[in-house]
């Protein structure tokens, strides 16, 4: 479309005369430069122990990123289901969703992770044994439950998803409620079903509203993922502890771990801000 092209060119020309936002030397850039500067300075000036620490942490960084991103994908889905459940008129669905949110929000994440990894397998054992006793036809399923070993990574993702899914449910609920009732009425009056109205009218608007709190959740999750180190996942924090216990260099190790988390969270919050700008629409 030539019209659009022309418009784009005009806008570009206009933008060139204005100071660009990304050229602005704001607080974020200052922080990032400072943190990255400190990290490189330490690595170059004192490669021993700092370069050694970074190399030792490297696979832990990967695990931390992977666990955060994978959990977050699940959290977005669980949160949507939970949020819709909280808004459901059906008392049973509403009750289940509310119970989930209220219970999970009241238990510390660390305790939830410990329960999932150490206590939950015992529950499975018990159920398995009961199934075996109940009927020979259920022996296979029962035996499987007794034999199954919890995979640390899977349990960590499950724990983070269950916990953050509850918080995310509340964010989705608030976001959907922030869209005026008239939008749902207009969509329904055109013959759309409840789910069509949600999919095409309400959620596209709600997503823009909840983007900032969702971004905050992502950054918080990135940090809270350090708790999975207690359930045998070799994330950055656990690798840091391993390095420390072999080298006894607490100050150097935890300084580097803290700086690396900071770099990651700063970039994450910037990505969120970028997405916010990209998805904004004329109000």
């Amino acid at each position: 479309m030539p019209d659009v092209e022309r418009l784009e060119r005009t806008l570009e020309a206009k933008a060139a005369t204005l100071p660009k936002e990304r050229e602005r030397f704001d607080t974020w850039w200052f922080l990032v430069l400072a943190v990255v500067g400190v990290v490189s300075l330490l690595v170059f000036v004192k490669p021993d122990p700092f370069l050694r620490i970074v190399l030792f942490l490297r696979d832990g960084i990967g695990v931390t990123v992977r666990i955060t991103v994978i959990s977050f994908a699940f959290i977005l889905v669980v949160g949507l289901i939970g949020g819709l459940g909280r808004l459901a008129k059906n008392w049973l669905i509403h009750g289940i969703a509310s119970l989930y949110v209220e219970i999970i929000r009241g238990i510390p994440l660390l305790v939830q992770l410990l329960f999932l990894y150490f206590a939950f397998p015992q529950v499975l054992d018990g159920v398995g044994a009961w199934l075996i006793k109940l009927s020979p036809s259920l022996h296979g399923a029962g035996q499987w439950l007794v034999d199954v070993k919890p995979d640390p990574f899977v349990m960590a993702v499950a724990g983070l998803t269950i916990c953050y899914g509850a918080y995310m449910s509340e964010i989705y609920r608030a976001g959907i409620q922030s869209i005026s009732k008239g939008q749902m009425e207009a969509a329904r009056s055109l013959g759309m079903s409840y789910f069509q109205a949600m999919r095409y009218v309400i959620l596209p608007q709600a997503v823009r509203v909840i983007l900032p709190p969702v971004g905050n959740e992502f950054v918080a999750l990135l940090k809270d993922s350090s708790l999975v180190s207690v359930v045998a996942v070799s994330d950055m924090t656990r690798r840091g502890r391993e390095f420390m216990s072999s080298s006894f260099m607490s100050l150097e190790t935890w300084t580097m771990v803290a700086l690396l988390y900071l770099v990651m969270t700063l970039f994450a919050s910037r990505v969120v801000a970028y997405i916010e700008r990209k998805t904004a629409f004329a109000k």
Binding site: S180, G182, Q183, E185, A186, A187, R188, S189, L190, G191, M192, S193, Q196, Y200, V201, P204, Q205, R208, F281, A282, K283
Partner: protein
Amino acid sequence: MQNEIIVIQGAVKRFGRVEALRGVDLTVRRGEVVVIIGPSGSGKSTLLRCINHLESLDEGCIIVDGIPLTQAENINRVRAEVGIVFQQFNLFPHLTALENITLAQRVVRKRSREESERIAMELLKKVGIPEKAHAYPAQLSGGQQQRVAIARALAMQPKIMLFDEPTSALDPEMIKEVLDVMLALAKEGMTMVVVSHEMGFARAAADRIIFMDEGVIVEETTPELLFTAPKHERTKLFLSKILH
């Protein structure tokens, strides 16, 4: 095809302890334009919203085009036949004018993108703003937004159009452009139920005027008789207040 397209019998609607409708009977014939007037809180908007089941009745029944509004599947069938235009426009702010008009056509009527866009452009021409097809609601004036909302409802090819105070949220200079569209629609023979205090429109287009107060129909008459010879005291009092 029977002549009565909307039949309302003994409609009662309560909001908590407040009775918004206290036994309303109303029949609208095919092609008729009915204007409902009355003081605020008289139940006129509630009655309108009950016709396409945005509110459900507590007692009584509504039959639209032979379909009783009771079961869930009937409600969706009726909604496809009944377009509604709201006081606050309720356009979808994240979609352009064109997309506002095509969305339900594609999702509900399963029309192709090309066909729904062709219909949308025709309707935008009809309401006089084809050049705004790619504008977002926030970039349109109130009058333009309301005309897009009318086009959006018409795109579903409804048999009945409901208007819930369509000009009450508009600046005075924009009221006419919306009323002109509604007048044209009335001339084409569309069945319309309009809640509005635009007496000029009522005089020009209405076949019947209904005066509601405190949840009941007080008077049912023609525009000429309403202005020259209102029967009830309450109607006279109300008219003296709105016709300054």
